[in-house]
């Protein structure tokens, strides 16, 4: 029997606001444990939450960028459960009336464009962290770090519209791309600022009724999501083929062992007893507010891609690669600005720069050569100040040492020699040293000129402008005829 896979994703994205969602301490990542705290996020007796308005702005940005309807009134609810890193014994979230609903995103698949529905986007606060596996923690102890408590989150819930791990991957990476473009989240899965849970079920092809779903958690990378989904799908299909029942359960992905391990049923059979949080008033959003956010939305990936094709005359593929991640696209555009040459900028960024990033397993934010400096290097090539081959060597050294290409060129005296009188000397010398080749050329073997150019280049340690050398050589050879 052939099976159809049904996947829905729940994606948590940490919002990069200055302060926490309901209190004043810093929402920045990291810091000493328990250093980013205040009475409110600690849940001390008597404190009250007050909503950070920027969080609403960010959620609206995401909602508008994913074609959602923004609710004129949404409500915060309490999700009640006990856990030591949840200081109030409940998480403030949204339940019955979320801030955004009924959106969608179009993803690219093998069979073309496909629309994935977004059920809702809601606001909530993050929990702290329990620390028990570190070396400094005794075996029977757990330490709590509450720095992350109250970090604002949006949870994006998709419709079960995805039919393969590849589609899920495409959806997830597009979400990352959008949050980065909106500058509301850095989209880093490894650090947990973007997190993804998946609901998966299978059903015989043609059946409309949904099968029993399992929930996959703890996938800490984009490829991990794809891998975990592949694993779980084949597990479910094997179950079905063996006539075993698929149990509704939650599984934790173990990236080291490449397996998904079921959680004990006790750990997820919560009754969260949601109810409206009486400490917070409903979030009221006017049409004017929505318009204001709409007008402030930055250019989104698709639009930027189209602009790259039109105004920089790039092939669509290049435009797609360059706009995939906002920081790279920003970098590219700065290179264009200083170099004045979009085609060359694209060649250098997609070729050299991306190769270095891949080799160093690094990203553009940590790339040692600033876009301005790369732009200047490209400009030097097109102006003939350095030749292309030298420029590549210069870039390699700049990447390695962090020095500016300009400094390297000066330091190593790599400026291209285009001075005709200096080069004439060298040419004459080469001609005198190679009478056989000169004779061959004069006898009609024109290709010998390549060899002669090479000799001049070698004599100038590669600094000669090959075009100028060529011109002078021809001039001198004509004289010998």
């Amino acid at each position: 029997m052939e099976y159809e896979v049904v996947i829905g994703l729940e994606i948590h994205s940490q919002l990069q606001t200055q302060s926490k969602i309901f209190s004043y301490s810093s929402a920045a990542f990291g810091g000493d444990p328990n250093s980013k705290v205040d009475p409110v996020c600690l849940g001390l007796p008597g404190v009250l939450p007050v909503l950070n308005k920027q969080v609403v702005n960010y959620a609206m940005r995401m909602g508008l960028a994913t074609n959602c309807k923004i609710a004129p009134l949404s409500i915060f609810a309490r999700k009640n459960y006990f856990y030591p890193d949840s200081p109030k014994g409940y998480q403030i979230s949204q339940f019955e009336e979320p801030i955004c609903e009924h959106g969608y995103l179009d993803i690219e698949t093998e069979n073309g464009k496909k629309r994935i529905g977004i059920t809702r986007i809601h606001l909530e606060e993050d929990a702290g962290k329990s620390v028990h596996s570190e070396t400094f923690v005794a075996a029977n102890e757990t330490l709590i770090d509450v720095n992350r408590c109250g970090t604002p989150l949006i949870e994006i819930v998709s419709e079960p519209d995805m039919r393969s791990p590849q589609e899920a991957y495409a959806f997830l990476t597009q979400i990352r791309q959008i949050v980065q473009y909106l500058e509301i989240c850095d989209g880093n899965m490894e650090e947990g600022s973007l997190r993804c849970d998946a609901n998966i079920s299978i059903r015989p092809k043609g059946q409309t009724e949904l099968g029993v779903k399992t929930e996959l958690k703890n996938m800490n990378s984009f490829r991990g999501v794809e891998k975990a989904l592949e694993y779980e799908i084949s597990r479910q299909i094997t179950c079905a083929k063996n006539g075993e029942q698929i149990l509704q359960q939650t599984l934790l992905w173990d990236a080291d062992k490449n397996v998904a391990i079921p959680m004990r049923s006790k750990e997820f059979s919560h009754d969260y007893r949601y109810f409206p949080d009486p400490d917070l008033t409903p979030v009221m959003i006017s049409d004017d507010w929505i318009k204001k956010i709409e007008n402030s939305l930055p250019e989104l990936p698709k639009a930027r891609q189209n602009r790259f094709v039109e105004s920089y005359k790039l092939p669509p593929y290049d435009a797609e690669v360059l706009t995939d991640q906002k920081p790279l696209a920003d970098y590219f555009e700065k290179v264009v600005k200083t170099s004045g040459d979009a085609k060359q900028a694209s060649n250098w960024v997609m070729g050299e720069v991306m190769r270095y990033l891949k080799e160093g397993d690094s990203d553009i934010n940590n790339f040692k050569v600033s876009p301005e400096n790369l732009g200047l290097l490209i400009k030097s090539v097109s102006e003939g100040a350095v030749n292309a081959k030298t420029a590549k060597v210069v870039l390699s050294e700049a990447v390695e040492t962090g020095k500016s290409p300009e400094a390297i060129i000066t330091e190593k005296n790599l400026v291209q020699i285009s001075d005709t009188s200096e080069l004439s000397e060298q040419v004459k010398k080469v001609l005198a040293d190679n009478p056989n080749e000169v004779e061959k050329f004069l006898g009609g073997k024109e290709q010998v000129i390549g060899f002669l150019v090479g000799q001049v280049m070698r004599a100038t340690r590669g600094q000669a402008n090959p075009k100028v050398v060529n011109d002078i050589l021809r001039e001198e050879l004509v004289k010998l005829k």
Binding site: L44, P45, G46, L48, P84, G89, D279
Partner: protein, 476 residues
């Protein structure tokens, strides 16, 4: 002693504030068997009193200089304990001030101590305190009411000039009535709840307990106002409440909700309230009967909604970060179960269980949602009634102070002692209880005045008029 007179005496240098504070400390010491206070810092009070004397002398004293204030022990005072009458917070020290406390301190009120209360403000008799019951100062064999029983006892027994209480379903007004003092619950949102340890967040309000209506007005003036730390505090202007006490009640329309005068009301209380109404009528107020038809559902809705909120509000007391933690626990779950089982008293546990139940999946619609619907109906009842009148007059309680242990085994009977006060909290309205007579046992009787939303001025004006015209004497 009331604050208004004390301040005059201090300004006329008839006594020093330090002297006065000594007298209060003396009263507290002598009345220790009443168990009104959980915590008194004598030395700090005397130091503070001397400071305030200096300020009075050099003319820099705040509006409340000369006020000796007791504070219910569910409000945060920086570097001071906040027990909420519970073992689970016995050793908790707050690192911050409640907004109301901040405002009072800024006006030079002197906080003499923290008062006893029903654990987490859950109770109507002050018998639910981990620190032992409070006795009614009028008759020590009786309860002072609750949950602000310590605060009302402190004021009635002259251990403080005034006190702060909190009122979720009558916790200021009912004990004020039992102890023979003035107790005002402001409109929900009038006073910031920041720093008031939550029992039921959509009901709780801080309010003054005083000897006179005037003092209540002055205190409310100071503690009221919008607070950006409390999203539910209302951005409305705070009137000069003390200026509203002009004695003018002519032409006021005063409504008597007929449901509050039906069976179950003690006949002596009925008589006393009727006498009170007569005085208003004789002085030019128009008395009319109104109806609040959904009153009978008030208690049920109240106990569903407040316990639901409480079950969640009290989740933070889990032994993990602060407060009581059971010893020698075997697992995380064991820590939760034992810390909470050992740290909470029976009434608190009963309400947490009730609240957990009504929010549970499958029961939410039948209880919590239904409760909210009833709440809306009760609000609408008041809105309709207030189309016809300026304020309402009712008894505060169906009976006067009852005997200790009389109702401890019958929670339902205990809950019914709030029957005249809970609707005001369900509707978020202001209400005030003030003494209007005594029964044949010389126990104080309270009359409740209920106002429109944010119209504390009206109930203060009517209350002040009654206070001046009732000429209260004990019958004995």
């Amino acid at each position: 002693m009331n604050f208004k007179n004390v301040r005059l005496k201090l300004e006329n240098k008839e006594t020093s504030f330090e002297n006065l504070v000594k007298q209060y400390l003396d009263k507290i010491e002598k009345g220790v068997q009443l168990n009104a206070f959980i915590f008194v810092d004598k030395e700090a009070a005397l130091i503070k009193a001397a400071e305030i004397d200096k300020k009075l002398e050099n003319g820099t004293a705040g509006k409340l200089a000369g006020l000796v204030l007791a504070v219910k022990d569910n409000m945060a005072i920086k570097d001071s304990q906040v027990t909420c009458g519970s073992k689970i917070l016995e050793n908790f020290v707050s690192p911050y001030n409640a907004t109301a406390i901040e405002k009072l301190l800024a006006e030079d009120a002197l906080i003499i101590g923290k008062t006893n209360m029903d654990e987490f403000a859950m109770g109507s008799s002050n018998e639910n305190s981990y620190f032992g019951p409070v006795k009614n100062p009028v008759d020590n064999s009786r309860v002072p009411g609750g949950s602000s029983g310590g605060s009302c006892t402190a004021v009635a027994a002259e251990m403080a000039m005034a006190a702060l209480g909190s009122d979720t379903g009558g916790s200021i007004r009912q004990p004020a009535s039992f102890c023979g003092v003035v107790g005002l619950k402001p409109t929900y949102g009038r006073v910031s709840r920041y720093g008031l340890v939550a029992f039921a967040s959509s009901f709780d309000q801080i309010g003054p307990i005083t000897n006179t209506v005037y003092d209540a007005a002055i205190l409310l003036e100071v503690i009221a106002g919008h607070d950006k730390r409390d999203s539910t505090s209302a951005p409305v202007t705070v009137p000069k409440f003390s200026k509203a006490l002009d004695g003018n009640i002519k032409g006021l329309k005063i409504g008597l909700p007929k449901e509050y005068f039906s069976e179950g009301l003690d006949s002596e209380i009925r008589e006393s309230i009727e006498n009170t109404i007569k005085i208003l009528e004789e002085n030019g107020a128009e008395i009319l009967e109104v109806s609040l038809p959904n009153t009978e559902y008030g208690i049920a809705a109240y106990y569903i909604l407040t316990t639901a909120e409480a079950s969640s509000n009290l989740s933070r007391y889990d032994g993990a970060r602060y407060g009581y933690r059971a010893e020698n626990v075997e697992s995380l779950e064991d820590m939760y179960v034992r810390s909470r089982s050992e740290g909470f008293g029976n009434e608190v546990k009963r309400r947490i269980m009730l609240g957990t139940y009504v929010l549970s999946s499958g029961y939410y619609d039948a209880y919590y949602r239904k409760g909210q619907q009833v709440r809306t109906l009760i609000k609408n009842d008041f809105e309709e009634a207030f189309k016809q009148c300026d304020c309402l007059i009712t008894p505060t309680t169906p009976s006067t102070a009852f005997k200790m242990d009389e109702k401890t085994d019958d929670p339902l009977a205990m809950y019914l002692s709030d029957v005249y006060t809970v609707s005001v909290n369900l509707a978020g309205l202001p209400g005030m209880s003030l003494p209007c007579g005594f029964d044949s046992n010389n126990l104080p009787i309270g009359v409740q005045i209920i106002g429109k939303q944010f119209d504390e001025e009206m109930i203060l004006r009517v209350g002040d008029f009654l206070e001046k015209n009732l000429a209260l004497k004990t019958t004995g």
